[in-house]
Assembly symmetry: C2
């Protein structure tokens, strides 16, 4: 089913937090608001990583290593079913040196303590 | 929630069809049993592709181009919620020349005419 506008806005706020806090402020505590505690990420070029502590380690290392300066997430589709949302979207990464990188993603959202968060997060590049 | 054993077996049959029919027999009609008609795939190195006819074109071109000889899909987690299943798994691609390539994937399954099929399919490589 399609999503109520309030839920759509809530998701957008969480998505923006990754850029505004995690990337721009290197505030990795903000990941607690973004990922469920037993979330999984499936990054290109690395094995699956499970658990928020391990995910935090990944981003703490990957964001500076890749020179990520910003990430604009654009939701293209979100499908609510029971207590799950499956979202498809596009990410525009800004890298230092001025390059950009287009990625696309699928995120499975679940609620943790009444808050919607990323439970499974997979992405890859367009080129 | 966890999946009934019958549903798990049903999913495994569909997953195996990709290897046994699409790859090994180049039977691209079998994709009708695997993907919903408005399915989306998000392949690494290419933009999102929507619709079974376009997905068929992609695989008809990509399988010979990449020299794919086999694909063993191993389901690692499947989460049923309402009429959706979110599956996480690993794929072991056999390429001609004897190389292998490890990929991981997330598939969002939905029912079409009472049959469970891949509705969203995204993957990337481990290395």
């Amino acid at each position: 089913m399609s999503l109520p506008e309030s839920l759509r806005k809530n998701m957008q706020q969480i998505n923006e937090l990754f850029d505004s806090s995690v990337i721009k402020k290197r505030d990795f505590d903000a990941l607690d608001k973004i990922y469920t505690s037993d979330a999984r990420i499936l990054p290109p070029g690395a094995p699956l990583i499970q658990g928020r502590a391990n995910i935090r380690e990944f981003w703490q290392s990957a964001i500076p290593a890749l020179g990520v300066m910003g990430l604009k997430l654009t939701s293209e589709d979100a499908h609510l079913d029971g207590d799950s949302i499956v979202e498809i979207g596009q990410g525009d990464l800004a890298l230092n040196g001025g390059q950009t990188l287009a990625v696309k993603y699928v995120v499975h959202w679940k609620q943790e303590d009444g808050k919607w968060k990323w439970h499974t997060d997979i992405w890859n590049t367009n080129q």
